[in-house]
């Protein structure tokens, strides 16, 4: 049971990383702000350059 919970936690963490939720959390904690439309807009601005320069693989 413990092992299953561990697997589920890791899977969710992987999904949060893939879908940039973790990156947003890090952004909030780095800037010590709470989640809001304004904070997310700032996060997207920061992400924009890096994300748009990342090639999608074939």
């Amino acid at each position: 049971m413990m092992r299953l919970r561990q697997i589920a936690t890791t899977l969710m963490a992987a999904l949060r990383e893939i879908f940039d939720e973790s990156a947003y959390m890090r952004f909030l904690s780095r800037n010590q702000i709470c989640s809001s439309p304004r904070a997310y807009a700032a996060f997207l601005r920061e992400q924009e350059n890096a994300k748009a320069r990342r090639p999608k693989c074939c």
Binding site: A13, A41, R53, C57
Partner: protein, 682 residues
Amino acid sequence: MTKSIRILTWLGLAVLGALALGTIALHRGEEINAMWLVVAAFCAYALGYRFYSRFISAKVLALDARRATPAERLEDGRDFVPTNKWVLFGHHFAAIAGPGPLVGPVLAAQFGYLPGTLWILIGAVFGGCVQDFVILLFSVRRDGKSLTEMAREEIGIVGGFVAYAAVISIIVILLGAGALIVVNALKASPWGVFTIAMTIPIAVFMGFYLRHLRPGKVLEVSFLGFIFVMLAIWGGQWVSQTPAVAPWFTLTAPTLAVIIIIYGFAASALPVWLLLAPRDYLSTFVKLGTIALLALGIVALRPTLQMPPLTRFVDGSGPIFAGKIFPFAFITIACGAISGFHSLISSGTTPKLIRRELETRMVGYGAMMCESMVAILATIAACVLSPGTYFAINSPAGIVGQSPEAATATISGWGFPVTAAGMHALAQAVGEQTLFNRTGGAPAFAVGMAHIFSSSLGGQAVMAIWYHFAIMFEALFILTVLDAGTRVGRFMVQDALSHVWRPLGRTGWYPSILATSALIVAAWGSFLWQGVKDPLGGINSLWPLFGICNQLLATVALCVATTIIVKMGNAKYSPVTLAPLAWLVAVTFTASWHKVFDPNPRIGFLAHARQLASSTAPSHGVSRLIFNDRLDAAVAGALVCMVALILLESISLWVSVISGRMQARVREAPFVPTRFAAEEQG
């Protein structure tokens, strides 16, 4: 587990793998179960990972558990973040998995299931996984530097320039070939067009939801987006069956090409949050789910392969693409075996997130094994179809004939029985008007996937839903690559043009954005247009060109890797990267030679141009085709010349270092001990 039990387990796995490989290689004249391919792949990857990657880690690269990675040394909570290895494994796999491992194996199945399967397994274990692993580690030891930066620093200025040119060429040709696959999958398909069209408002909704309603809740909105996409698939059936609405979404190939070109331009110029980012999330969500579903479906249903191990087309006369197994099977299947594109990912985000140096093995080598497994699943999806059906879907009208009767007569004449009535019934079952001449691999994959699932989940009644789900999945996937690729290409062109005139490099300056977006879209759009107008279906020329580009990029990556290994003083272990490099040089240079100079007009671009010039009266359309052939020949020739340059520069460097004429100097970041080792021990 005691040592003797471990040895027995690995011996058992080796015997099982040999048995599975023997079964798929030696069975002739009778159908085999797809599980043999899955078992052979599982055993090959397990043995490759346990023994070969471990050898590379210990002897060739000497991974150092005490050395801090850039994620630890340069941690900034943004680009450099020490990340759990399993989380990073998923992240890296999601980044390298694209449409390539699904399309290439489907096209290469024209040779039978055997050549593709063997190349996927051998190519991945000894080539692709090694490339991804080694480049990842070398990037980690250089503060996460990119492949082009490593090529410039370790080989020389020519190396850097060639890597840059190879990257931009591969992006342009990939986008042209990808867009052509989407056009061929959606032409005359109101259901498919409606579903894909609906993903644009869905993505815009997701963008607004994320920005204004529930900031940062990406998983939640991706799930919502997925539900809307499923509703769009369901609605597509209504659209296709409603005479008043269906014609709006029944589009010809040229119309679709124009729409996709306009879409590509818009996606490159619009803000990322509005379209690109939400589509990316939606596509990733659907991609991971579909791959998992396909894997589960094949393992649970264990379908039988209808395709023979080898077909008569091993002689080079294949209808889907012309050319013999060597070299064409090895450039057709790139991403599932070895893909140069992966080296960009391995030297991109991933090296900045690796927590421990030892974890590069699992992330680099391991994620590529999973990608290779996806290619095996695609092979299975194509080979569960009867060969007659497979060739009827994938063969262009220019080869098999325009009418269903002519096509079925030609294909049946090859020894693969198929009837016009049978194809009509299949088209009706999947909700299409016709399945003939649906070149590009995506429709055949979709029919194969629908065939596998409809035999248990919902039966024939939902075959059309499964088919359009698979088409939506591939088209969404490719369009995401297309909009992201156009933007990446735009940034690369802006970077290059900034050396000519600095304002052109400003990524926020709209005149520059519009001009460079137009330049990139025009480049891949011209390849797309050429494919649409090609009577041989376009894939015959574009996919091999894409394969050549991709494998040439892998050649560049392996040149960089071998150079670093030699400079590290490990020349005796250089065959680890030198062997796949030599193979790729043989494959890509031979393939390029054939594509440019082969006297067969179905293979050689120049021979095809000569045939067109001599056999028809000159017209604008023919002149355009002749120009396209010459352009393709020039692109292939130029790429080979550039890669030959980097190869010669590398060889000269290796000889100088090994002979002692040059003192080797690797440009690794200085050693800093990791704090994680002490934390783990404590």
